[in-house]
């Protein structure tokens, strides 16, 4: 009896020693990992044994059964304490392999140690109640009962965190009925695997697609807590800075980027990443990272501007990112009032929604003589101001006065003013149209001084200036200020050699 108690004491001392002298940094030896992998085997012993001990301890509270089960509880607690200590030691070795979520691992470790300690405490409370009596006046069986209760609670929590480390966080709730999921504040089952982004239109490719992969698969070893090989992958700055072997990525060249080539190595090969005992990147994750590096490894390019390859497009489809709303379509605009639409449609224009279930309208002038600033048209447009996205006043009587109103349509993206009487004065009213993408001014009297200010339109993509007063130098100045703008100044016919094939 004494020997057994002494031995357990020694085991406890070993555990404490291990905790203090925990090996850290560097690659763990094969022997470490060999022993570590016994953790999942050993760990189920204390779970079963200690649960059994708790159950029998309950029975000892019934007077006539106290004698019968007391010794069993002592034996079970002894076995539970030993297997608990062994589990913790094996677990500490296993953790050396890395690849686990650091915060979950920390909790699992703390609670595991606590359970092992409590098992020891419970055992001694049971076999040496006299020690307790020395310490206080409380009844020993109350102390041991309480300690066992706390231990079981700790056991449950440790088990939970351990399961999360092994199976990932959604394992338990994966097949939970949708009603329960809703109560628990979880997304519906159909949305599992879909990326939940607050505003996909404003998210960068890196933040939405790449950083989550790195944080799930890499940063437990290459992060703030631990930076193996001097490499940290948790921030853009650290990624670009690289580790002992230089930067892990070469923008535009995935085949030269170690972040990719190491993932591509065979699982057992030396240098394969993540280490083979850790969770691996899925094919889709590896492809996303490869594509991101290939397309320039930009940390601030927005998701809507990304140009996915067909393969990446299908991955994005699976993530629910196939249709990212941008520009005005990302806004929460109220649907138009149908009376206002009818009123506007009576003013010589056609008014049609852009699409089903879309709050935006396209307005096209049909009665060319009626579309001017001197009619009720400005008032009709103003009433539907937030809803008008496309406005076609081409070939109409529209002039600078009407543009005063047009310039106040906040969500205008396409504006046709070709062959109208608008001049530079009218253009100055349009400079607040922050969503304007298309502006057709061909056949108007606009000049260089009018168009040069159009570089202030942040969204403008295409500008049509054929048959205007604009000169080549004016176009050059505008192009310099807005390099990505497509400016069409009309035809420049190159002579064509005719086909001279003889019959």
């Amino acid at each position: 009896m004494k020997t057994a108690q002494l031995l357990l004491g020694a085991g406890l001392a070993l555990l404490v020693l291990m905790l203090i002298a925990v090996p850290g940094g560097g690659r763990p030896s094969d022997l470490t990992l060999f022993f570590g992998r016994f953790h999942p085997l050993v760990v189920h012993l204390p779970i079963g044994i200690l649960l059994m001990a708790a159950a029998l301890e309950g029975l000892t509270r019934i007077r006539q059964w106290k004698q019968r089960y007391d010794l069993s509880v002592q034996l079970l607690l002894y076995a539970g304490a030993w297997t608990g200590i062994l589990s913790v030691i094996a677990g500490l070795y296993l953790a050396q392999g890395g690849g686990y979520d650091p915060s979950t691992l920390a909790w699992h470790k703390r609670l595991g140690v606590l359970v092992a300690l409590l098992a020891v405490v419970c055992y001694f409370a049971k076999v040496r109640p006299d020690w307790l009596r020395h310490l206080s006046h409380i009844q020993a069986h109350k102390v041991s009962g309480g300690a066992i209760a706390v231990m079981i609670l700790g056991l449950a929590l440790t088990g939970h965190f351990g399961g999360r480390l092994t199976h990932g966080s959604g394992y338990l709730t994966r097949y939970m009925p949708d009603g329960l999921r809703q109560l628990a504040g979880l997304p519906a089952k159909a949305d599992l695997g879909k990326l939940q982004l607050a505003d996909p239109a404003q998210a960068t490719t890196y933040d939405a697609l790449i950083a989550p992969v790195l944080s799930q698969r890499c940063t437990s070893c290459h992060g703030a807590v631990r930076a193996r090989g001097g490499l940290r992958l948790d921030t853009p700055e650290h990624i670009m800075e690289g580790g002992d072997e230089g930067p892990p990525i070469v923008a535009g060249r995935p085949e030269e980027s170690e972040l990719i080539t190491r993932v591509w190595l065979p699982l057992h090969a030396d240098g394969h990443m993540p280490p083979e005992e850790s969770p691996q990147l899925s094919v889709a994750e590896a492809e996303l990272v490869r594509w991101w590096i290939e397309s320039g490894a930009s940390f601030d390019r927005l998701l809507p501007d990304a140009e996915p390859t067909p393969v990446v497009a299908s991955i994005l489809d699976g993530l629910g990112l196939n249709e990212i709303q941008t520009g005005i379509f990302a806004l929460d605009t109220a649907p138009p009032d149908s009376q206002d639409i009818d009123a506007l449609a009576g003013l010589g224009v056609s008014v049609t929604p852009l699409a089903e279930d879309e709050p935006y309208l396209q307005v096209r002038c049909i009665d060319l003589a009626a579309c001017s600033g001197d009619t009720d048209l400005p008032e009709g447009l103003r009433k539907l101001a937030p809803n008008i996205a496309w406005l076609d006043l081409g070939r109409s009587q529209a002039g600078d006065r009407l543009l005063e109103t047009v310039g106040t349509l906040p969500h205008l993206t396409r504006l046709h003013l070709q062959q109208t009487r608008v001049t530079d004065t009218g253009l100055s009213h349009l400079l607040e149209l922050s969503y304007l993408e298309y502006l057709n001014l061909y056949g108007t009297a606009v000049t260089d001084s009018g168009i040069v200010r159009l570089s202030r339109l942040p969204a403008l993509k295409s500008l049509y200036l054929w048959q205007t007063q604009v000169t080549p130098s004016g176009v050059e100045a505008l192009q310099a200020a807005a390099p990505d703008l497509y400016i069409n100044t009309g035809l420049s016919l190159e002579p064509v050699e005719p086909d001279t094939t003889a019959e």
Partner: protein, 484 residues
């Protein structure tokens, strides 16, 4: 005949119409009542009123340049130097096994490209010497080089391209689009058809017909010479105000008739009279290419006063400029078998190239400088491709050089609204005989066209004979690779 069957037939013989009406009286009443209610619902909306598509469109309008007869990709865009080396050799059996041809019999000879090729534009697209003007605009074009059809004869293949079925009776693409979108310009037809090349399409007016859709959606054929729309002009000595009063009187009578019987077709008739009256001024204005300045005529190479493809291209631009949704051009004469000068790669084919090259390039450039190409989808192509073998009609040599019909691969191209310019999608093998990658079936092209116009091709349907029909029937995938 057994006794039971005889008894059944005798019973049926005594079942008169009177019996039927008596037995089903309540049912008929219900049907009549239902149609009365439906009248109110159906009469209200104008079938041609502008309607929104399923999602925000990239293209508002379509110009479809159909090169009827099947232009040879091997002489235009699909550059096959290996085929030149094989010229004159007998075709190996492996290429003929299990294949059916329209005219080739026995073992034909291979025929090298009857053209010289070069790469043009920043995209480096291959274009032959027969299309010198088109080289200027290749960076706006997405070539589909592995198109696939199911038919190797003209009429069914043309029907498949335009109506999604090789048999008669389905609505054409332009009709579907008009049915889906209505029209923005009530003064002009929404779907206009322009013919050139000396012959109508092989499948006849069905390639622009409305099939089982209401006839209001069918293509309106306009002539580029003489009266654009037949029977639209006022008769001699009938002034326009008299015409107006005539139509008012007819419409009043029709309205009275509608109040009495409630047939919605009467309202359609009234709308047609009104539209015809409006078209009397709008159509001649739109169709009068002489209103265009001289440099535009020079650009397209028009031939005023004749029926010419170049005139039709210019007309197409004038029509889309005025809000016409779908302009369908047919240019006949690309059927280069080699059986006669007019249908030979060294004869009529060269003429067709000369007739179409300049106006097509001009159309793209003209649309672009007017800001229209950005929102107008232009499609070019025939109904099938042509064999890399020299046609040997019924086993003997033809007097001219030509190729037979080929349904496995052919080239079409798209440009404009929502299309990624300067790309080539799809690839054929070393002799342009079979697809290697990026095959696009005719139904896929249709799904893509509808997608660019804002439609989910699965949802643009019309109920007929007990089921919902669509342009792509039960097929079609959007070709994402060509989307901008």
């Amino acid at each position: 005949m057994d006794l039971l069957q005889e008894a059944r037939e005798i019973k049926l013989r005594h079942q008169t119409r009177r019996h039927f009406l008596k037995a089903f009286g309540t049912g008929l009443g219900a049907i009549a009542f239902a149609s009365l209610g439906a009248t109110e619902a159906l009469a209200a909306p104008d079938p041609l009123a502008a309607r929104p598509p399923h999602f925000t469109p990239k293209a508002k309008r379509v110009i479809f340049l159909h090169m009827a007869g099947g232009p040879s990709p091997l002489e235009l865009f699909d550059y096959k130097p290996d085929l030149a080396r094989l010229d004159g050799q007998l075709c190996p059996d492996s290429l003929l096994e299990g294949k059916r041809f329209a005219f080739i019999r026995g073992v034909p000879k291979m025929l090298g490209p009857q053209a010289t090729f070069g790469q043009y534009g920043q995209s480096g697209a291959w274009v032959s010497n027969h299309m010198p003007h088109l080289r200027r605009v290749v960076d706006r074009i997405a070539f589909l080089k592995a198109m696939k059809t199911d038919e190797f004869n003209h009429a069914p293949a043309q029907l498949l391209v335009h109506s999604g079925s090789p048999r008669l009776g389905r609505p054409s693409m332009g009709s579907w689009v008009t049915y889906g979108l209505g029209t923005e310009n009530a003064n002009l037809p929404a779907f206009v058809v322009l013919l050139s090349g000396g012959a109508a399409p092989d499948a006849g007016a069905s390639v622009y017909g409305s099939g089982f859709l209401p006839t209001v959606y069918q293509g309106v054929q306009c002539r580029s010479n003489g009266d654009p729309v037949l029977f639209l002009s006022d008769p001699d000595h009938i002034p326009r105000n008299l015409r107006r009063r005539t139509i008012d009187a007819i419409n009043d009578i029709n309205r009275q008739n509608h109040e009495e019987v409630g047939d919605p077709e009467i309202l359609t008739r009234i709308a047609q009279y009104e539209m015809a009256f409006r078209m009397q001024t709008a159509v001649p204005e739109a169709m009068d290419i002489l209103r265009e300045p001289e440099y535009v005529h020079a650009m397209y190479g028009t031939r005023p006063g004749e029926t010419a493809f170049s005139n039709n291209c210019l007309l197409a631009r004038r029509l889309v400029e005025r809000g016409v949704r779908f302009v369908q051009l047919f240019h006949w004469g690309w059927d280069s078998h080699g059986a006669g000068r007019s249908e030979a790669l060294n004869g009529g084919f060269l003429d067709r190239c000369r007739e179409t090259d300049q106006p097509v390039a001009a159309l793209l450039e003209d649309l672009d400088m007017r800001g229209l190409l950005d929102e107008t989808l232009v499609i070019w192509g025939g109904e099938f491709g042509r064999t890399p073998m020299l046609e040997n009609r019924s086993g003997s040599d033809n007097p001219f050089v030509g190729r037979d019909h080929h349904s496995d691969v052919f080239t079409m191209w798209m440009a404009g609204g929502g299309v990624r310019g300067g790309i080539t999608h799809g690839e054929t093998d070393a002799i342009g005989y079979a697809p290697v990658q990026g095959q696009v079936h005719v139904h896929d092209l249709q799904a893509t066209i509808l997608h660019l116009l804002g439609f989910d091709h699965l949802r643009l349907t019309y109920p007929f004979q007990g089921r919902d029909f669509r342009l792509t029937d039960v097929h079609g995938h959007v070709v994402n690779e060509v989307l901008a």
